[in-house]
């Protein structure tokens, strides 16, 4: 029995960045924009977080496309990001039948 999914559309990428210098800040992201940065599942950007929050050196950074993208856009984006950041993994984000196949942080 197969799961009935009619369409899958690539809309972005989660990149897990290792940073020893706090919450990563990004510029020059086209054709993506950064939706959030989270640490251990809690959103730390945009907006504030309480000073009590334990931060580890591993951040989940969500980049959503601002226009139609292909795998090549993600490949070149990762290459550009690698010039500044150390990243441990990347996870492509798809909409399945227009429903997000990815979670949001707290």
């Amino acid at each position: 029995m197969e799961r009935a999914v009619k369409s899958a559309r690539l809309v972005g990428v989660d990149i897990y960045i290792i940073s020893e210098n706090g919450v990563p800040q990004f510029t020059d992201l086209a054709p993506f924009q950064c939706e959030f940065v989270s640490n251990r599942g809690t959103k730390v950007w945009p907006g504030n977080f309480l000073p009590d929050l334990l931060l580890v050196n591993w951040y989940r950074c969500r980049f959503l496309a601002t226009s139609e993208i292909t795998d090549k856009d993600i490949d070149s984006f990762l290459a550009r990001l690698s010039e500044t950041w150390l990243w441990s993994a990347a996870q492509k984000l798809w909409l399945y039948d227009n429903e997000p196949g990815f979670s949001k942080p707290y």
Binding site: E2, G41, L50, L54, S103, Y106
Partner: protein, 345 residues
């Protein structure tokens, strides 16, 4: 001027009537608390567009202590749990769940006195889930060294303060060698600062079996989030059910005390349900605030009312409503005096 200011979050379903009964009992103990009422849950969606309004977060951030009633969490889809959001936002990393046999509530197990310390912010609760293909879903289990070390250290600190003898780490490091292995490694490192406390470790499935075979062998348990969720409910069931299970979510500078049961919406407004779990959470809160005399006073009165069995709720064989049970506890406290004679040792 009030000695303490506490954020009171009645919650949903039966939460408001339970919390009102608990507030009556705590106020009757003579402890000086100013309660600041705040909201949470599905009702807030219509009013504020969120399950957890900013006003509630600000109140807790200001007062640093809250008592909370139950809320409802949608299953599978919809909004994220308001409970987990609170734990995440305030980094309440230690979920303290005592499981202690209540003499008046007879169960097959009557010799349980376990302090559970569940890591409350990591593991599969990190909200990192993806459909990685059209037919494969993935949830990341995030275990960190600092997160694991601090829950272990917290447990050892409590164990030392309460004169406990043994702390055991629960894990599945035989299978998840890297994630649970890191949790166990951090536990062993934390243990080095507490040489007087005996330590051990146990695989989670064996822990579940040992709990029902011989619960008296356990003193304190330290668990990653998901195993902790399950094992602490098992422990609660063994001492009388979630109706008697208190809980505290504690961070470095903030604490939220709450029962772990659901909001039982079908009983809402019926003045029927047992408020003991929220009351016991309130007793934990009083101890956290340093109000030990009031804590002992309420605890003894509650035990006495349960032992008499006349004015107790339906779940323990009585016919009393929430209000009447609370009133019986207050009467018992008045009979007992102001609690000075029971100052905690």
């Amino acid at each position: 001027m009030s000695k303490h200011v506490v954020t009171l979050i009645p919650g949903e379903g039966t939460g408001p009537e339970i919390c009102e009964a608990v507030k009556r009992v705590i106020d009757a103990s003579g402890v000086n608390i100013k309660w600041e009422y705040e909201e949470i849950g599905l009702d807030c969606l219509d009013k504020y567009g969120t399950l957890l309004p900013e006003k509630t977060i600000n109140s807790i951030a200001k007062n640093r202590v809250a008592l909370k009633g139950p809320t409802t969490t949608p299953v599978g889809t919809g909004h994220k749990s308001a409970n987990v959001t609170l734990r995440k936002v305030f980094d309440l990393y230690s979920n303290v769940r005592p499981a202690v046999s209540i003499p008046a509530v007879r169960r097959p197990w009557n010799d349980i006195n376990i302090l559970n310390f569940r890591e409350n912010t990591e593991d599969t609760y990190s909200a990192i889930e993806h459909m990685v293909s059209s037919e494969v879903a993935q949830c990341l289990k995030v275990i960190t060294w600092p997160g694991s070390f601090r829950i272990a250290d917290f447990a050892f600190k409590w164990a030392r303060a309460q004169g406990r003898k043994k702390v055991v780490c629960v894990h599945k490091a035989n299978i998840m060698k890297i994630t649970d292995g890191l949790f166990l490694e951090a536990f062993r490192e934390a243990a080095k600062a507490y040489p007087e406390i005996e330590t051990g470790d146990i695989i989670v499935d064996n822990c579940a079996m040992q709990l029902v075979r011989n619960p008296a062998q356990f003193d304190c348990l330290v668990l990653p989030n998901l195993y902790g969720d399950i094992i602490t409910d098992l422990c609660a069931g063994m001492v009388g059910g979630l109706g008697f299970a208190p809980g505290a979510n504690i961070g470095d500078s903030c604490a939220i005390f709450e029962a772990v049961h659901g909001s039982a919406p079908k009983y809402a407004g019926l003045n029927k349900v047992n408020p003991s779990a929220v009351l016991s959470s309130g007793i934990m809160m009083l101890r956290w605030l340093g109000e030990n005399t009031a804590a002992v006073c309420i605890e003894r009165a509650m035990q006495a009312v349960l032992a008499e069995g006349r004015r107790v709720t339906y779940d323990v064989g009585g016919t009393a409503g929430t209000d009447e049970y609370a009133g019986a506890i207050i009467e018992k406290m008045n009979e007992q005096g102001n609690g000075e004679q029971w100052k905690e040792q």
